[in-house]
């Protein structure tokens, strides 16, 4: 079953690699992953859509990774999901009006064009993006670029100010002696 997970991950080299490697190594299907800065410096927030038979196991396995700070499954919670798509449509001048009409219907915007192409941008649910793309594909050959789903639960705790660990203040090795 497909689950929508939200993960807080330390921004360190290889951290994302570990998350992806774990999903691959455990034989889980990754549908999409979208990562960006969180409100906390040094911490990324990712939305991961993954196919797993045991989401509880998957979350525990992810939590074993040192850089993973927190994983939440929002699949059965109240949450919003949005995705952005850029669609480049190869269409000659006479068909541009058609594209404009479709874009208006879907609340999409034309964000660029060249003599041969038009680029449309749309942010909505993944399903609505799919509908829009199907429509413009009927107009001309398309190249699509999708961001992957971004999910956010409606409720939840107040964000933490920073990610300092409980023992961060512990001084290390200060008692070590005999080493000159």
């Amino acid at each position: 079953m497909r689950h929508t997970l939200i993960a807080l991950v330390e921004d360190r080299p290889g951290a994302l690699n570990r998350v992806l490697g774990l999903l691959r190594g455990r034989g889980l299907g990754l549908h999409s992953i979208a990562v960006g800065d969180s409100e906390t410096p040094g911490v990324k927030r990712a939305t991961v859509l993954v196919d797993t038979e045991s989401v509880e196991q998957t979350i525990k396995q992810l939590n074993r990774l040192i850089e993973v700070l927190e994983v939440t499954d929002v699949t059965n919670a109240e949450y919003v999901v949005r995705e952005t798509a850029l669609v480049k449509i190869h269409a000659p001048e006479p068909r541009r009006d058609e594209i404009k009409t479709v874009a208006d219907v879907f609340g999409a915007r034309i964000v660029g064009s060249s003599p041969q192409t038009v680029v449309v941008e749309m942010t909505d649910t993944p399903d609505r993006l799919g509908e829009m793309i199907a429509r413009v594909m009927a107009i001309g050959a398309c190249e699509t670029m999708r961001s992957g789903s971004l999910a956010m639960a409606l409720g939840g705790p107040t964000p933490r100010v920073n990610a300092v660990s409980e023992d961060a203040t512990r001084v290390w090795w200060s008692q070590a002696d005999g080493i000159s």
Binding site: S54, K60, D167, W172
Partner: protein
């Protein structure tokens, strides 16, 4: 010495601050600055030059498993590092605290396919608790601190530190006042009192309770607590392969090992029990057989420090996440004294009808030296003399050792379990021998596994290690595979017959003593002579070639379905 150090000196001092006394390794280009610095600290930081990095890694594991402290191995970049992959994977599967230090090519050429460059942090990603690539010498103090903390805290495991050559060479004034900041790594603190109460309630109401004790009991030093709990409640105790030694097998409540080569009465008890208290074991498929049919009548109480083990293979009624020792102490407080005498008597009756221990091996139609004879002699010597540890390899000899020796103390039985790494025993025995120079360290190994890493006999010779005694159970086959071919594949012995040199002669060539034993009446004397010899010894026991390990649960079946003896020919 001024306050200024090289990165390599900082690495040495960091190891000393972590109480490291010995490391096992092989130098090479990218790790040379570390070796250069090591020379200055050689009176406090011993380096053991191994003959292959796999040997170095297993030696560090043997050191770690016999002491409980992290073992340290060292290799250069490229092939040196990749040769460590097998021991790192082995340590990962068996929860062994291991810190692997590898050299890496200089930052300036990193990513350019430089000579002996390999992305070892990428390669070891799925088999380490964590790994680091350090290219700034300033990071070395905190990285080493974190690495050791992670390796030994919670569920132990391997951590790799890959240090570029320029970071080893850089000069710096190290700042040792490092704060440990690993917010994503939190060992469970405190136990859930509701879970403890619920577990105590279920245990108190059980009529056929059973304890399944794993390595977690040994790692968390909970052997005394386990004994107290068992004696207070009269609950029989099963010990997994890695749990061997967590509960003395000469104790009236000990019933033995479960699983694929466990005893009939143990597997039946698991299938019959109504409450199964699992402590620090992870329900490996070699224990459970077909997991969906495992312990079908039991409410399972699972104590484990790793939350991801809960409910992974077996459905759990109560999960107690935390340190086994703390959990057992809390349980002991709450559980009223009881007994399970009738239940235990039932188990013992099953045991009596299934010819426990020896007869499985004795084929009536041969007078050849049987594996059984070797183990009988070893068992007698070990339990008479004490002061031993036994390292086993992987295969038939490993299962016979688990079955036929009466184990009594923790950390005296060390083996490669989860990964099943042939070649583990000889180097791991070397590591344990260095950690415990006053004890006699037996490596029990097959002729297949012995030939995978026997080059470490040269290391044993060079280091003057006198307390390694290798017992090769030599049947001229990769015996466990041959046994499966015999039982399940119509005796097609494809790729399993195996020759070798004279192993006694090989030992002598390495400067050790070697003896060949092929008669029943010589086994005991050979073991005595090896034990008393003031130096390391190889005993080559030429045993009957087609002896099998019984009982046996065929792969994929329930542990209730066991083959207990040879089918009539």
């Amino acid at each position: 010495m001024t306050d200024e150090r090289t990165g390599a000196q900082v690495m040495c001092e960091a190891l000393m601050r972590e109480d490291v006394e010995v490391m096992f390794g092989i130098p090479g280009g990218a790790i040379m600055p570390f070796y250069h610095a090591m020379w200055e600290y050689r009176d406090r930081l011993r380096h053991v030059l191994c003959r292959h990095e796999q040997g170095a890694g297993h030696a560090a594991e043997g050191y770690a498993r016999s002491t409980g402290k992290p073992g340290v191995c060292v290799a250069t970049s490229g092939p040196g590092a990749t040769n460590l992959v097998t021991p790192i994977a082995n340590a990962w599967m068996d929860s062994t605290p291991l810190v692997a230090i590898t050299g890496q090519v200089s930052s300036a050429v990193l990513g350019k396919d430089a000579f002996q460059e390999t992305d070892i942090t990428g390669i070891t990603l799925p088999i380490t608790k964590h790994n680091y690539r350090v290219s700034r010498a300033e990071d070395l103090p905190s990285v080493f601190r974190e690495a050791f903390h992670i390796a030994r805290t919670g569920r132990p495991g391997p951590v790799l530190i890959d240090v570029t050559k320029d970071a080893q060479q850089a000069r710096l004034v190290p700042d040792w006042n490092v704060t440990l900041n690993v917010p994503g790594f939190s060992a469970p603190v405190g136990l859930d009192p509701r879970a403890i109460r619920e577990a105590a309630r279920i245990l108190a109401g059980a009529s056929k309770p059973l304890i399944l004790a794993g390595q977690g009991v040994i790692i968390s030093d909970a052997v005394a607590e386990l004994r107290t709990l068992a004696e207070r409640t009269g609950i029989p105790v099963v010990t997994t392969l890695h749990g061997i030694g967590a509960f003395p097998e000469d104790h009236p409540l000990s019933i033995g090992m479960p699983g694929m080569h466990g005893w009939v009465h143990v597997n039946r008890a698991i299938q019959d029990c109504d409450v199964l208290l699992c402590i620090g074991a992870r329900f490996d498929d070699r224990v459970t057989g077909k997991a969906s049919t495992f312990a079908p009548r039991a409410s399972v109480i699972h104590i484990d420090i790793d939350p991801s083990e809960i409910g992974k293979n077996v459905k759990v009624a109560v999960a107690i996440i935390g340190d086994a020792r703390a959990a057992l102490r809390a349980l002991i407080e709450l559980i009223p004294p009881r007994d399970a005498a009738i239940w235990l008597r039932n188990i013992r009756e099953t045991q009596a009808t299934h010819q426990h221990r020896q007869p499985y091996l004795r084929r009536p139609d041969t007078t050849e030296l049987m594996p059984h004879d070797v183990y009988a002699a070893l068992n007698a010597a070990l339990n008479k003399r004490g002061g031993y540890r036994v390292i086993t390899d992987v295969g038939q000899h490993q299962m016979w050792a688990a079955q036929l020796i009466e184990w009594r103390r923790p950390r005296t039985h060390i083996t490669s379990g989860g990964a099943g790494t042939m070649g583990f025993a000889v180097p791991a025995a070397m590591g344990a021998a260095i950690a415990h120079p006053d004890e006699t360290i037996w490596a029990i190994v097959g002729d297949g596994g012995f030939q995978m890493t026997n080059q470490e006999l040269a290391t044993i010779g060079q280091e003057g290690i006198k307390n390694v005694k290798v017992a090769i159970v030599n049947n001229g086959y990769l015996g466990m595979v041959r046994q499966w071919q015999q039982l399940f594949e119509g005796r097609r012995y494809s790729g399993t017959p195996l020759t070798g040199p004279s192993f006694a002669g090989l030992a002598e060539a390495y400067g050790l003593r070697g003896f060949t034993v092929d008669r029943i009446e010589d086994a005991e004397e050979a073991i005595r002579a090896a034990w008393d010899h003031d130096g390391s010894v190889v005993l080559d026991f030429r045993v009957e070639r087609e002896a099998n390990v019984f009982p046996l649960v065929p792969p994929g079946l329930s542990i209730g379905e066991m083959i207990t003896r040879e089918a009539p020919a």
